[in-house]
Symmetry: C2
């Protein structure tokens, strides 16, 4: 018998454990083209909060009473699909559960890059690709740029810091609390701002007296406003996430948004899915970096399927350094 986390009710504001329910599920017999996967690692990500609202977005909303979904890595335990054998490790979207039956075309066999399986949910997975394409493509960042990245101790942010350094940029990262700031520094960031210790605007003005060329936004709100204030001419902002706004209904207020005009700021929202056709490019550059230690993989691991909602909620309490994972 398999178990899966279901959406029990839609959260209003910050989700709580009451919004989730772990239930037994019946798994079908395999049809042709399907594989049965025993999940080993589950990904929890801030974007999942958006799918818990009943609004149209780039992915359909979760349905109340239905199982949740998310990135997962598991082992094939039964196969009726060509090219998939028992024991293969695959990556797929039927997370939040211990076992799943999936169409083989939605399960990618992990490329042989000499990496640990869970890294395909992190630095070599959607998380890493988000950091990579957001920085290189959406923000068109290049060597010599002064790059500001918020939530720099988070899953995506910590990869942005390292890719930017590998590409010859100056990096300013923000994080909450001395421990996370120390972690960001250990990744090679040139300046680190503890946003819990004072105004992010003041911190950024001190760290970047000549302004910034690129802002990689994971946070929105005051961080984005500080970036508006400090942007140099022709600055590019890649908007990856706005975690500050995910659980609140209040509008975000900006004092410096008018600088968009005078500084000719270009701001671009992006979704990593759009870059999937370019994943080979990402693997080609990232895999050697991971192998030779240029890009380090940091994980916060929570054990046990039953703790998946806790791991997810921890994202909004800042409990993760690097990628938040659930190990089954």
């Amino acid at each position: 018998m398999a178990r899966a986390w279901h959406l029990k009710s839609r959260p209003s504001g910050m989700p709580t454990s009451e919004n989730f329910e772990l239930k037994d599920i019946d798994l079908r017999e395999l049809a042709d083209g399907q594989v049965r996967v025993r999940n080993r690692w589950l990904s929890v990500d801030p974007y999942m909060r958006g799918r818990m609202n009943d609004v149209k977005s780039y992915v359909p909303p979760f349905q109340v009473g239905e199982p949740l979904e998310g990135g997962a890595v598991g082992e094939v335990v039964e196969s009726k699909a060509d090219g998939y054998a028992v024991g293969d490790l695959v990556q797929h979207m039927a997370g939040w559960r211990d076992e799943a039956v999936v169409q083989s075309r939605t399960a990618q066999k992990l490329p042989n890059l000499g990496a640990a399986p869970q890294q395909f949910l992190g630095v070599l997975g959607v998380t890493g690709a988000t950091a990579y394409f957001g920085l290189i493509d959406a923000a068109a960042a290049k060597a010599g740029d002064i790059v500001f990245v918020s939530a720099a101790a988070g899953a995506v942010g910590s990869v942005v810091v390292q890719v930017a350094k590998a590409k010859g940029m100056t990096v300013i990262g923000s994080a909450g609390g001395p421990e996370k700031c120390e972690f960001v520094r250990s990744l090679g960031a040139d300046h680190v701002i503890d946003y819990k210790a004072g105004s992010i605007l003041k911190g950024l003005a001190e760290a970047a007296p000549d302004g910034i060329d690129v802002y990689f936004d994971n946070v929105g709100g005051d961080h984005l406003d500080a970036a508006f204030a400090l942007a140099r001419n022709n600055a590019r902002f890649a908007i990856c996430g706005m975690i500050e706004g995910y659980n609140q209904r209040e509008p975000m207020a900006f004092r410096f948004i008018q600088r968009v005009i005078a500084a000719r700021i270009q701001l671009k929202g992006f979704i990593v899915f759009d870059y999937f056709p370019r994943l080979p490019e990402f693997y080609a550059e990232m895999a050697p970096w991971v192998a030779n230690g240029t890009v380090k993989s940091r994980e916060t691991v929570v054990d046990g399927l039953e703790n998946t909602p806790d791991a997810f909620l921890g994202l909004f309490r800042g409990e993760n350094t690097g990628k938040m994972l659930v190990r089954l």
Copy 2:
């Protein structure tokens, strides 16, 4: 004896006539390379409000006690510059005064396009070029796009409406009050929203049930937020101005800015000066449109140098339909 409007004091919030002072000025004898110009038409523009603050921007701030500047068209009455003869009509930046001595290299002789002189301050001048390059380049608008433009009865907005229609786009314009809305309709807009008659968000949702591809922003605030709410995937926003914020210190609040991510919105601030090298391209397309009536030129004319501050203040009271000009 010439007269010029001086900045008497920096406005705080909405400017008043107390911030301006009309004073006699001594004009120098002409040096080589200079011309003396009798101004015929003065331009007043919202961006001038920004120059009245003591902040670094894309143009230096006005100085208290010094004459104001701005676009003007006048007649050469004395010349010590090669290629400039008495009687030539020129366009230059020494506005807010009746007579000026200017370096000939900063005075462009009006091209012979069969247009009225004051049109070089409007539809064939910086105003028209702002509309043209903002729409075509900053917003990358193309035939078939659904374009929303705010302040569509204003100087820039009214040209955006007409260029967009000439290029085969669907146009939604906003304006304040029935008279201006009727004017925007007369320019060919497909839908017009009276933002004074109700919520701009509701109005835009009705006018664009399938969303918008392009937003040309002259206003900021609630208009920009409505555009975030209604943006289709890969929408492009050209940010030309945010007049709502020019006279207030409060931050602008946005409820829908997070849609930047899901809809992959690209937002770009721009300054028309950056496009000056491409003015020939603008003249080549716009001059025939003006000549054959595809693009109509609408002006609100205030008479007399002494009324220049009133004309300027009228911009923020919404007193202009089309381009606000002062005739001397």
